[in-house]
Symmetry: C2
Subunit: 140 residues, 2 copies
Amino acid sequence: MIGNINQLLDNAGLRKTKGRETILQLLHTQNRPLSHQEIISRKSISKYDRVTIYRILETLQKVGLLHKILGSDGVWRFCTHKYTKRKKCGGNHIHFFCSECNQMSCMPEQSLPWINPPKGAKIISKQLVVHGVCANCLNF
Amino acid sequence: MIGNINQLLDNAGLRKTKGRETILQLLHTQNRPLSHQEIISRKSISKYDRVTIYRILETLQKVGLLHKILGSDGVWRFCTHKYTKRKKCGGNHIHFFCSECNQMSCMPEQSLPWINPPKGAKIISKQLVVHGVCANCLNF
DNA sequence: GTTTATGCAAATTCTTTGCAATACT
DNA sequence: AGTATTGCAAAGAATTTGCATAAAC
């Protein structure tokens, strides 16, 4: 698995550092997007400086190894691309945000709708965040 | 017009204050959602304290006179409901966000798609923000 | 007169910047 | 050895809280 991740960094032309590996590993293992705060409060990550985490997330996102989505709480969350088939998808799927536990999850089965751009405008990407209460939280 | 706005505040069970009236008036006149910063930099608003503006926006949004949407810059924007037919729509339409000028606009003609909730979850609302470059900015 | 909203000061939180020390190739 | 990344300190921005004053009912 680590070999795999190093490969990703290599292909992206980035140096292989412990921090980047650990974060990629974490997000790969996770099945939902994590915020900066969620990431830094993991035992495996907490030894790194917050600034470093900001920079790693920024870097990985820029080269396309991560994408970021905004929760309806205004906080960015990051996740890997493993839930989509295409390689450079840019996070092209719907996300669900639970307002009870503030956790976000991916809804990869449903695709984003086609949108007609405003007159003369160019569409770059779309973010559809569904806001609600997840199954877990509904039971309490 | 002011009479109209006072009516809205009244119906919502809120006291009629100059600040609330002015902000509602501004957003009613505007044809796009405005951020806290955009709002407070208006001449008619700048005399109020930033904290007051935060609280007014919060209050108006809570009683349903405004809704808020997040731009892909992570900043909340507020707008009235005048662009939708239904009274308590909760901002149920698509928004366009231009990453050049950072301005948001409404796309009221197109409606939000139907989404299947994750198993056992309850959907409360949906936010679809289309990210791109507006007609104006494309020409420069 | 009582209750609610506002203004001000200060605290808190989140994010960014600069630079020296360290790690990677 | 040379370059990119990290850690630390500090700056900056956005937002929230507490409380006294002022405005609305």
